[in-house]
């Protein structure tokens, strides 16, 4: 089930938005496609991030995948638990956020609802 409490991108990331802070993670579909996740390269708190740029890397056994930040702003929190337990993204993709970003604006950024995202995934397959 794709949770309705958040937004999604076509790069298979989710954004849980509260005020001007977005917690960002990857979708169930993304974790399933990657397979066993063994390492997450987290950004640092305070890092400036730009919409569309890579800000973290999720590594599965087979490959490294860049995670793109949907919004511009500043990293205000990272999920340090992923350092010791990267598999949490497999176990609980919608609970295990990667980082929280304080953003300037959502204007001009294409975000999908859960329903739209599910349709997008179905189409992609």
């Amino acid at each position: 089930m794709t949770p309705n409490d958040r937004k999604y991108t076509k790069e298979h990331e989710w954004l849980l938005i509260e005020g001007n802070v977005a917690k960002i993670g990857i979708t169930d579909h993304a974790q399933d496609a990657l397979g066993d996740i063994v390492y997450v390269e987290l950004p640092a708190v305070g890092d400036a991030v730009e919409a569309g740029a890579s800000f973290a890397v999720v590594e599965s056994v087979k490959a490294a995948s860049e995670i793109y930040c949907a919004v511009s702003g500043k990293v205000v929190e990272i999920n340090e638990a992923l350092d010791g337990a990267p598999e949490e993204i497999n176990n609980d993709p919608y609970g295990a956020f990667i980082a929280a970003v304080e953003f300037e604006t959502l204007e001009g950024i294409e975000l999908l609802t859960a329903e739209e995202y599910e349709a997008f995934v179905a189409e992609e397959n």
């Binding site: 390492y39 590594e59 056994v61 087979k62």
Partner: protein, 360 residues
């Protein structure tokens, strides 16, 4: 996916939920459940792989022995019928055509098992050098090949039902043994660093053999395994893979496979080039820094680039991240190297290969 070649087991993979990928033009499962779980199953219990994509070339005729002796870097003089031998096939310049497994039936009949993606190229290479007293036939499409690997493989075979002998020694084979009533070539070989067998049967019997072994494997909680686990298992055992640790630009000496190159035997293709000292060598590295170094990453000593990573991944049984790298011989003895990963230098210490060796 529709343009990819399919093994006789394709429908079995789909039915078992295999995640299908393009592997050198073949549709094969990278995993069924989880690479880590499948890897663990092979180390601790047993795993079943479809390796039907591998190529089978038959070399027969009066001239088969001297012909192969000339084509292969290893010496097959000491092979008796029923033995398997690992060898390289080289170009004149010492670069690697392929690494192969040779099965001796008799002085006039040999089976040469080659890498899937090299089958056509190898067949052409062998055929181009064939002599009038030798026939080389590509019979790859006639066979299904399954690898049953892991410490409990014998229990699985017994549960499936065996009529005939199972080879006792590593690198030996039995020409025909029935497993679950299906005639198979059974060889005590594998590509995982564990004990096990590889079974070759008629392509049409592949799905039935797989089904029988899956059923029999329940007694040891066996898992079907995909290419992902096959790669992490061979990587941990530091076995080279064509296209990664070796190719047309890398010699067996550089790959560190000189044990399969017998420079003291009479002439063979590549001998002259291989007599010259190698300039590079494969080394093993263990990452000290957090992070994973993947294939093609540059390896440094200080500011000097000394080589590149040929394979890099987590080593699930050992823990930690490892890499194999091809480095300049003169820079191959340092204790610590740096590997560039996404613009950062990660420290890695030189470590002996194989990374993983099973307890005997």
């Amino acid at each position: 996916m529709d343009t990819l070649k399919k093994t006789p087991l394709y429908d079995v993979h789909i039915a078992l939920g295999g995640k299908m990928v393009d592997f050198g033009g073949w549709a094969l499962p990278v995993q069924y459940s989880s690479i880590l779980e499948e890897h663990k199953a092979v180390r601790e219990r047993c795993g079943l792989f479809d390796v039907s994509h591998m190529g089978e070339l038959w070399v027969s005729g009066e001239g088969a022995f001297p012909y192969l002796q000339y084509m292969l870097t290893n010496d097959i003089t000491t092979m008796t019928p029923g033995r398997c031998r690992y060898s390289m096939v080289c170009y004149e310049d010492g670069g690697t055509v392929d690494d192969v497994l040779v099965y001796k039936y008799s002085d006039t009949d040999y089976l040469v098992v080659v890498n899937a993606s090299n089958t056509e190229k190898d067949f052409e290479w062998f055929a181009a050098h064939a002599i009038p007293t030798v026939q080389v036939e590509n019979k790859s499409a006639e066979y299904a090949q399954l690898a049953l690997q892991g410490p409990k493989f014998m229990q699985v075979l017994e549960a499936a039902g065996v009529e005939g002998a199972i080879p006792e020694k590593n690198y030996t084979f039995v020409q025909e043994t029935k497993v679950a009533g299906i005639p198979c070539i059974v060889s005590r070989t594998g590509y995982t660093g564990e004990d096990g067998v590889e079974l070759y049967c008629a392509a049409k019997d592949g799905p039935a053999l797989h089904a029988a072994l899956m059923e029999a494997g329940k007694c040891v909680n066996m898992l079907p395994c995909g290419l992902g686990a096959r790669d992490t298992l061979r990587f941990e055992a530091s076995m080279p893979l064509y296209g990664h640790e070796m190719d047309a630009n890398v010699t067996p000496m550089e790959t560190g496979i000189s044990f399969a190159v017998k420079l003291n035997k009479e002439d063979f293709i590549g001998k002259e080039a291989l007599l010259a000292p190698a300039k590079r060598i494969r080394i093993g590295l263990k990452l000290i820094a957090r992070g994973i170094a993947r294939e093609h990453a540059d390896v440094y000593l200080g500011e000097k680039r000394v080589g590149h990573v040929t394979s890099g991944s987590p080593a699930p049984t050992l823990g930690g991240n490892y890499a194999m790298a091809l480095v300049d011989l003169e820079d191959s003895e340092a204790p610590v190297y740096e590997i560039e990963v996404r613009g950062r230098r990660l420290k890695a210490e030189k470590t002996a290969m194989p990374f993983y060796k099973r307890a005997k």
